[in-house]
Every structure is written in structure tokens, then in C-alpha cells.
């Protein structure tokens, strides 16, 4: 049965079983995944997937169910579960689906993979790494080609088809010299093209260089307040925490956000512009439709340090009376600055280049505390060596208000576009 026929069957079942509004998605997918352990090809994995989900409304009550049995019996059971969930829910007029967005077909990335070329590129990366970075151990690497077809519709008339495919390649690395070993580091890229060696894509080469230079990491003595230069990976992590902590549905609905009434106000350094831009050509597979059925739009959350909007779903918008944001992905694009990374480093009297942050999601007050991973000490404008057993403490909101500079260079890994960001006032402590 074709996916369109499955969608028609789902539509028919929903019409038969439920009198009100609904939305649904049916999908099929295939994954070809090569797993490498300690530099050796270890496992080839093939996953044939299918799926269906339905959201049913009974008046202002709603429930949803999902599963992977797309036979008629399976779909009937799924619709029954969603309907039963809706019957049990309380009335809440804030639940809704997007108004009619029309019909569209979105085709993204690669539909026919070149697996031989993909495997060649992976082997080439392993050979290059072994030759140029002999102290690096590729503990684990994974190359995956993922392909999918998806149809989503709702009773307001929206009908979207999605067809796409992408390659992804990721590594877990450490480095050793005799009995000295570093900790773990991770990086990866998403791509639709195989025209560039993986070593030259994303941030792969820099990670191999940095882990090689981390073998003699030393603890910092004492404690000081200094500047932290967030690498693009760390910066993306901190910005995601910022979004969750200050402008997402949960904290706006329950009123615990410290940026509850800050839209239109300066909340960060004026160098900072944060957008979610799925249509940016550097994003390989950007979101095209939101969870509630809107066509996705590019959105700027922070413009030159000014908070432009909270990031509310349709439900969050209806609940709070604030604008909905038609973007539920995280296709992060952060505006670059004017200084080079070298100039940023040279401007720091004492601080860290923070390659990774091992810490949890900060509490509602924004306080964060964690271990600096894959990080380097900066003293008098120069990199003074890798650090270990070093903690960083601060407050998310304060940190982004105290931006010293943003690099001209940006990292594009297929899923985000992010520069290096230097922030002042972070407490850095060692033993």
C-alpha cells in the first residue's frame, strides 16, 4: 500500500470514528547506518520504519496517540486510543490546530543515496585521522543515511507532504599518549552532499586538534572571575538553555520566567542576534511545518540584544494571550561579530575557551554550574594549555548581558550556524 493510500485510510477511519476536528500524520522511513568501533567497521544496521499519529478533538477536549502499526486494524486501534484520551481530558479551549495552510509538497536533501561514496568518505576520514592525528582514538563513529516520506493533514484543510534524506556522520574521540588519556569529545555533521572530505566539514578537524592538545591537561589552581569564550558547540548549548529557561511554553505559562515581561527590552549584549532560520541555505534539513500545523517561518528571537518574542506554541499562545511563533524546530542561526577568533582570544586577560559544558539545565533562576570539558586556559591573551577538573559558575541571563565579543568566523555543521561568543563575569574555579 502506498503512503498516500495509508493516509486516505487514516482519514476515512477518523471521519468514521470522531465527529470533531483532528490532525494526523503517517510516515515511512529507512535508515542505513554504519557503526565503527576503535577505527574498525563493526556493524551495518538497516531500519525499516513506519509510523502514524493522530490528534483528536472532542469539542475543546483533546487527546493523541501514536504507533507504528499502519494496517487498518492498527490505525483503528490508534484512533480509538486518541479518542479515548480526548474523552478523558478536561475542557480547555486553548488546545487547537493551525488554520488552513493550503497544500504543499516539500522535498529536501537527498532521496537516492550514494552509499559507496559515503563509505569511501568515512574510510577517508578514518585514514586521515590516523595519519594526521596519531594520538587520537576514534572510539566510536557512526555514518547514517536516513530517508523519509511523511504526509500530515488536518480538518482545517492543510495537507503537507515531506520527502527527504540526509547523510550524518559523528564521532566520539579521545587522545592518549602512553598512560595519559583525555576525556571524551563528540562532534558531527549533517550533509546532503559528499563533495567535501568529512575532515573539512563542520568542526571535525578542530575537535581532533583540540583533543590532541588536551593530553597534558592540568587543573587550575584557585578561583577567579574571568572571560569565557564559548565555542560554537558550547554557545549553541547555552542558547538552547537560554530559550528553555526564559522564553519557552512552560516557563511563560507558569509565569516563572525572568523574561516574562521583557519583550521589546534589552536582555542581552547588543552584539547578540539569535534566530531560528530553517530556510537558511546552510541548514540542510530545516523544519517546514510546526507541530500544530503552521507552515514554519524564520523567526528572530533576539535582535541586537533586544527580546523580540517569547517562543510560544499555539497552545502556549492561546493560554497566555501572547503571539504564537510558527517555528518549533531548533535551526539555530546566530549572527556573527566583527572580531576574528584570534582577536577575541587576544583581548582576554584571563579566562577559558569552553569546548564543552558538563552540567544540567539551570534552574528557573538561571544559575548554572558545571565542569569545563575540552577547555583551554587563556592568560594575557594567549592560550596557556588544556585544563581539567575545572568548574564554571554563573547566571545565564547575566552571562548573555555581558558579551565581550562575537567572532567573525561561524561554524556550520548542517544543523546550526554559530560563532564563538565571549562572555565576561564567569567564575572559574579549580582545586
Amino acid at each position: 500500500m502506498t503512503l498516500k493510500a495509508t493516509a486516505e485510510m487514516m482519514d476515512r477511519i477518523l471521519r468514521e470514528e470522531t465527529p470533531g476536528k483532528y490532525s494526523y500524520t503517517v510516515s515511512e522511513s529507512e535508515k542505513q547506518e554504519l557503526n565503527i568501533e576503535n577505527g574498525e567497521f563493526k556493524l551495518l544496521r538497516t531500519v525499516f520504519g513506519s509510523g502514524a499519529s493522530a490528534r483528536v478533538f472532542l469539542g475543546t477536549k483533546t487527546g493523541s496517540a501514536s504507533g507504528n502499526d499502519i494496517t487498518e486494524e492498527g490505525l483503528r486501534k490508534l484512533v480509538g486510543e486518541a479518542t479515548a484520551a480526548a474523552e478523558s481530558a478536561g475542557e480547555d479551549p486553548c488546545h487547537d490546530i493551525a488554520p488552513n495552510q493550503g497544500k504543499d509538497v516539500f522535498i529536501q536533501g537527498v532521496t537516492e543515496p550514494d552509499m559507496d561514496r559515503f563509505i569511501e568518505r568515512i574510510r577517508e576520514f578514518l585514514d586521515t585521522a590516523a595519519k594526521e592525528y596519531p594520538k587520537v582514538r576514534i572510539m566510536y563513529a557512526m555514518g547514517s543515511f536516513d530517508r523519509w516520506n511523511r504526509i500530515t493533514r488536518n480538518t482545517n484543510g492543510t495537507e503537507f507532504e515531506f520527502h527527504g534524506g540526509r547523510y550524518s556522520f559523528s564521532v566520539e574521540i579521545c587522545a592518549s599518549d602512553g598512560e595519559k588519556t583525555t576525556g571524551l569529545d563528540y562532534t558531527g555533521v549533517i550533509t546532503a552532499k559528499l563533495d567535501t572530505p568529512f575532515m573539512e566539514t563542520g568542526d571535525l578537524r578542530r575537535h581532533l586538534e583540540d583533543i590532541t592538545n588536551s593530553i597534558d591537561a592540568k587543573p587550575i589552581e584557585g578561583k577567579f572571575e574571568g572571560t569565557v569564550i564559548l565555542t560554537p558547540g558550547s554557545a549553541a548549548n547555552f542558547i538552547e538553555m537560554l530559550v528553555n529557561n526564559y522564553i519557552s511554553d512552560g516557563v511563560i505559562i507558569n509565569g516563572t520566567s525572568q523574561w516574562l515581561d521583557k519583550v521589546g527590552e534589552q536582555v542581552a549584549g547588543e552584539q547578540l542576534t539569535v534566530s531560528l532560520n530553517p530556510y537558511d541555505e546552510r541548514i540542510v534539513i530545516g523544519e517546514r511545518a510546526t507541530g500544530s500545523g503552521f507552515r514554519t517561518e524564520d523567526v528572530t528571537l533576539i535582535d541586537k540584544g533586544v527580546l523580540k518574542t517569547h517562543r510560544l506554541s499555539l497552545y502556549g499562545s492561546n493560554k497566555t494571550g501572547r503571539p504564537v511563533v510558527k517555528n518549533t524546530g531548533f535551526d539555530l542561526v546566530v549572527g556573527n561579530g566583527e572580531k576574528t577568533l584570534a582577536e577575541l582570544i587576544a583581548s582576554v586577560d584571563r579566562g577559558l575557551i569552553l569546548g564543552g559544558f558538563s552540567g544540567g539545565q539551570p534552574g528557573a533562576n538561571g544559575e548554572f554550574s558545571g565542569v569545563a570539558k575540552n577547555s583551554f586556559l587563556i592568560e594575557k591573551g594567549k592560550i596557556a594549555g588544556a585544563v581539567t577538573e575545572t568548574m564554571v559558575n554563573g547566571n545565564l541571563g547575566e552571562a548573555f548581558r555581558r558579551i565581550r565579543g562575537i567572532s567573525r568566523e561561524v561554524l556550520c555543521d548542517g544543523g546550526s550556524v554559530v560563532p564563538w561568543i565571549a562572555v565576561d563575569g564567569i567564575v572559574i574555579s579549580g582545586k
Binding site: 525499516f48 504507533g67 576525556g183 568548574m391
Partner: protein, 461 residues
Amino acid sequence: MLHDVIGNKISLFSDGVQTVLRGQENRNRRVVLLKGNLVQNSRSEARGINARVNDHGTFGFASIAEYTPEAAEKVIRAATENAGALRRHSGRNVPLPPSKGTGTIPLNAAITDAPQKELIALCRTIDGYIETTYPDLTSRTVVYSEDSQDRIVCASDAFCGHLVTPRCYVYVMMSAETKDGVPVELFKAFGGFGSFYDHFQEPEKLYPGIDLLHKQLMDKKEGVYAEAGYRTVVLGGLMGGMLAHEAVGHTVEADLVRGGSVAGPNLHRRVGSELVNMVDFAHSYAGGAAPLPVFLDDEGTKAEDAVLISGGILTGYMNDRESAEEYGMTPAGNARGWTFSDEPIIRMRNTCILPGKNTVEELIASVDDGYYLINSGNGEADLTGEFMFGVTCGYEIKNGKLGRALLDTTVTGVAFEMLKTVDMVSDTVEWSSSGFCGKKQPMAVGMGGPHMRCKIMIGGR
């Protein structure tokens, strides 16, 4: 629950390789009430079949989202072809691990399914209790979350069986504000192995735990930042469990040992004080069931306990069949996959630091100036054993007595150094089983520990 459509497919396995066929269903039920608003109300089920073939160290895996005899035949063919295809690219040629016996492991439990309306009613009852009893909160969230694995495993030269792992929890999160308007939060999980009716028929049984959580939150409202530095602390049992899992457990997973973890050169060496003993329990603990019992893994290995640290000496790793051969150990059933589309990898089961002889009160009374760290919101560790745990609930200890509560802080250290500072261990163990371990795939795991007096780096402001 699954009916067996794969057991008679063993005849299709190829000779000269090791094949495991697995049929599996994962179920999820979830209800979220945010300040009384039902913001999530969902159910999901994913069912399918996979096969994994070991062709002398090169593995082929295939899965399909169908649960039929035809799907079983398709994945056996695809996995066998994948192993053969990869072998042409790979230089691996590893002897197949020997069989450790064959047989059938009996079904261990049943999964019962409660209708969604009962899950919502439970959450509303609990939410109503909190709203009525504690109007001083700025926000509250009540979550019902249930997941289950239902697996049928058929192995070419190992054990077969039909096993289930249902678990369900209610999470309660509370928020309040300090006098300066700064938000503070705490959460607690209730529940464990089993289904809705095993744990939540009488919601009022949760109220004492909710009351304690509220008291701790009110203490935290008046809390202070910890004084940063290398301090004597009493780690609570939940923190001990986090340490066992994150900081030690991962470093002794054999695939990470092979990758260069600190446990490699430390086998048979001292990694903790004589008071430190650690075991990854399979299905039983102290004469009863372990929090999340595992009787059979996804390679067909009959599950047994894996002793990891004995008297402070590192004695073993957690293995799959191949790594056990490599390290001269016995596989104990640690190779597990989360859904039908996940290949088995080395995972923990119920990892625990064993109890000692002191009471909790004795540990606290023994500290002149330090901290009592009760609960953690998160934790991470590295191959080197360097760990970080967020501390969400803790108190000062002054002259052997509990003092002011702590605001959120973080503790760090290097596991095999920190464990050598353990000089008192309590006679009771606290377990948690509500979380997921992340390592390529999620996995439900239990972790437990006693209270321990030790020295640790604590972060302040």
C-alpha cells in the same frame, strides 16, 4: 502482550554465524498537568522485529516495524546480508564467542494497561491535593509517565525467552520564590517496576512524600549557596546511586574500556577504600526483586550479577559476549536494546554501591563542618571518571547537625580518587529507577547506593 510469531524461525538462521531474533513492543503513556492545565495527553506503541547476525566480529542488524512471521524472515535475510556485506569492507576476523548454554527463560511478569481516564484522574487528584494544601507555590507540575518493554528473544546458541519490563511513575515538581523573587524548584518521583494498578490505586499514599518535598522546598526558599571548595560531605543514597551509575558504571562498560576508559589500566587495582563494594545486579537484591529486573539480555545471555568492585578493588567489567571473551570474563547479560529497532549494546541494569555498617544519623553526626547532599537533578561523567552531579537538595552540616538548606549547586571529582576518601558507609540503600540512561539509545536502569561520608569538590557562587 506479544504472542510468539518468531520462535519457529530459528530454522532459517545461517550456519557458521550467531543469530538472535527479537520481537518487541514498547508502550508509553503520558499525562502532564502544568498548574492544572492538561498540556500532554498521549499514548504510543511501537512494535516490530529485528535480527542481529555476528559473522566473526562483523555484525549485521536489521529491523522492521511489523510483527509478522514474514517480517521475521525479512530481517533474518537482511541482517545476514548486512553482516556479509560489511565483512567485505572490514578487516575483523574474531572467533565467535562460545555458547554458555541454551534453554528457555520463563515469562517474569505481566503488563496491565490502565485506561487514559484513570491516569488523568490520578494526576488531577494529586494536583488538587497540592493546590489545596500548598497555596504558597508559584507553580506545580504533575506528570504520569509509563513505559514498558515486552520482548521475545530467540538465539541460535544461547537462551530464549519472553520477558517484560513495565514501569510507571508520577513526577511531582514544585516551584516557589525566595524573598528576593528568585525561583527555586524541587521534584520527586514516585513509582517503580510494574503497572499503574501496582502503584497508584491509592493516591493518598503519595501525600507524605509530597509533604516532605514541600518542606524541603520551603527550606530551600531560605537556602544559601554552598561554600565552594574541597569539602567533607555525606552523600545521600540517591547521590550514591548516581555516582555508581555515572562515574563508575560507565567506565567499567567493556566497550568504553576498549575505548580507553580509566578502568582499563585499573583492573585488579585499588579504586576505592576498603568500604567500597559495587555490583550490577541482574534481577534480585537482598532477597527481593531488584528495581528493574533483567532475566535475559538481547544476545540470549542468562542474566547474572556482575561484581565490579570488591573491598575497593576493581574486579570486573560489564560485557557483551564478544567483550567477555576479549577480557577473559563471563558475560552476565548486559547487552540490551531499548526498542525493536535498537541493536544490543552494553548497558547497566541495577547498579549499586553496597551498604556498610553505620547508620545515617552516625554519618551526619560525625561531620563538624560540611554538607549533606540528598538529591541530584542530573549527572554526567567522562571516560576518565571525572564526574559532575547537579545537587538540587542539600543541607549544611554544622557540628554534627543539619543546618540551612542549600540552593542548587554542583559537585565534581574523579571517581577512583573520590571513592578512596569514603570512610563511612550507611547500612541502608536507596534506589531510583525512574530515569533513562543515554548511550546511543535510551535505557531504563536502576541505580542505588548507601549514604557515604567522603570528600568532594563542591561549587558555590
